[in-house]
């Protein structure tokens, strides 16, 4: 913390200082909690019906049948774990990197389904499976996930946030 103050001794507007200073850390808190809500919502929507979660994975026609259930079963719990870690702010940078990788995987999967011309719901927040060709929303789904990816990227580059376990551990 002290380092940031020393490197910018003079007043005046500085974007870098705004990003690194308390304002940036409050903003980081908002991003962190926002992403936590996203993961919690995604996880909870998928956790209640294991067969539906497996079918959402199967509908992408990417994974072999033997991996469909493990991935469909594990994913909601993984998302809930990320939500929990983000909510308390433990290991924010690592969690942000994992979140980003997961989101890139999702975006890749949706793009692949789109490119192959199959008609599915992404199953991002529950649901999933085949839909009528007129009901696909690939662009919206990709844009939405890209937004979440930006949030994860912010936290990966600025993991220091207010009210976090990380701060309490003086990391």
């Amino acid at each position: 913390m002290a380092g940031g103050q020393m490197s910018e001794p003079r007043g005046g507007f500085s974007l870098r200082r705004a990003v690194d200073g308390p304002a940036g850390e409050w903003f980081g808190l908002a991003v962190r909690l926002g992403l936590a809500v996203v993961w919690a919502w995604a996880g909870l929507a998928k956790v209640s019906d294991p067969a539906a979660a497996a079918q959402a994975v199967r509908a992408y026609e990417i994974l072999p049948e033997s991996l469909v259930k493990p991935v469909g079963y594990a994913l909601p719990f993984l998302e809930l774990a990320l939500a929990l870690l983000l909510a308390v702010g433990l290991g924010v940078r690592a969690v942000a990197v994992i979140s980003g990788l997961l989101l890139l995987t999702f975006i890749g999967g949706i793009s692949s389904a789109w490119a192959r011309g199959i008609s599915i719901d992404c199953g991002c927040f529950g649901g999933g499976g085949a839909v009528a060709a007129s009901q696909t929303e690939y662009l919206q789904e990709i844009l939405r996930d890209t937004g979440f990816l930006l949030m994860a990227a912010w936290l990966a580059f600025r993991p220091r946030t207010k009210l976090s376990v990380d701060a309490w551990l003086a990391m």
Binding site: V47, D49, P50, A51, A52, A53, A54, Q55, R58, E65, K69, P70, G72, Y73, A74, L75, P76, F77, L78, L80, A81, L82, L84, L85, L90, G91, R93, A94, V95, I98, S119, D121, G126, G127, G128, G129, A130, V131, A132, D166, L169, A170, M171
Partner: protein, 296 residues
């Protein structure tokens, strides 16, 4: 002299500060490593726990119990009509699916007639995936109530009543057992205490889930999926649109030269020969479609 001494002290102090800073940096690095390790461990444990827990919670693909007279390798199929009829109409329907309702309202009279003439029998797969995308329980509870009606030997009539009274897709009216039971009153003799308890206890929820999982693994993606002797005929058979007239024509063509099925007084389900032990190997009709492997 004193000047030098002071300098010496200062460098000593600086050295100590540097060491302390280095120590602090080292310990911070260690804390970061530990925290990253904790994060990875939490994420990995969550994934493993997820697989174990969801595996335990999910209903088996082979149902523990099935409605009376259900056929197919896992007893997932409700037969309807004369079991020895020469043609089979395989129907995948979701109780909440509007296109299924439209199909039933347009075709049920024709199908009933074809069955009663011994020309065709139906294999129903009661799928229930609309609950997943729209929320609610109407698909699953509706399918369960249909299974209960099958137990009572009133599948066909109750099936027709349900589709005639189908709510909007977004309305979850079938998600209420009270609604399903009150509709059962339109089928003479169906609304018994046994039927009501079967509906209210969601007796065949495991079977309903198994039927849906079987559909999930099939190559069919929407309902209604309708096959005549294994060939898809909805919405088209080749270039020809499905219509009641065409359906009769197609079935007559497929039946040419084959003896018609026996049509006893009881054209109602369960089909007479299929009430035997539903153990799969004794499936009553050799022409029954094995559920997920339609001949292309």
């Amino acid at each position: 002299m004193s000047e030098k001494n002071r300098e010496g002290k200062r460098t000593a102090r600086e050295r100590m500060q540097e060491e302390r800073a280095a120590e602090e940096a080292r310990s911070r690095r260690n804390r970061k490593l530990v925290v990253s390790g904790v994060v990875l461990a939490v994420v990995a444990i969550a994934a493993v726990v997820g697989v174990v827990v969801q595996n335990q919670r999910s209903k088996p693909e082979t149902p523990v119990s099935a409605p009376v007279g259900a056929i197919g390798p896992k007893n997932l199929v409700i037969p309807d009509g004369p079991a020895n009829a020469p043609s089979v109409l395989t129907v995948y329907e979701d109780p909440r699916c509007p296109a299924c309702g439209a199909f039933e309202r347009q075709f049920s009279a024709t199908v009933d007639q074809l069955q009663d003439q011994g020309k065709v029998y139906n294999n129903y797969h009661l799928v229930s995936f609309i609950d997943r995308s729209l929320g609610g329980k109407g698909s699953k509870l509706g399918a369960n109530a249909l299974a209960c009606a099958q137990d009572a030997g009133k599948f066909r009539d109750y099936h027709d009543v349900l589709y005639k009274n189908q709510p909007d897709e977004t309305s979850d009216a079938f998600g209420s057992n009270a609604t399903l039971i009150s509709l059962a009153k339109q089928v003479p003799g169906l609304d018994t205490p046994v039927f009501e308890s079967c509906v209210n206890s969601n007796k065949y929820s495991g079977w309903v889930s198994a039927v849906q999982q079987d559909f999930d693994k099939s190559s069919y993606k929407s309902t209604p999926t309708i096959l005549l002797n294994g060939t898809p005929i909805y919405p088209k058979k080749g270039d020809e649109e499905i219509s009641p007239d065409n359906l009769v024509k197609w079935i007559d063509a497929a039946n040419q030269g084959k003896p018609l099925g026996t049509t006893g007084a009881a054209s109602a389900s369960p089909a007479p020969s299929s009430t035997a032990a539903p153990s799969g190997s004794t499936a009553p009709s050799s022409t029954a479609q094995p559920s997920a492997t339609p001949s292309p």
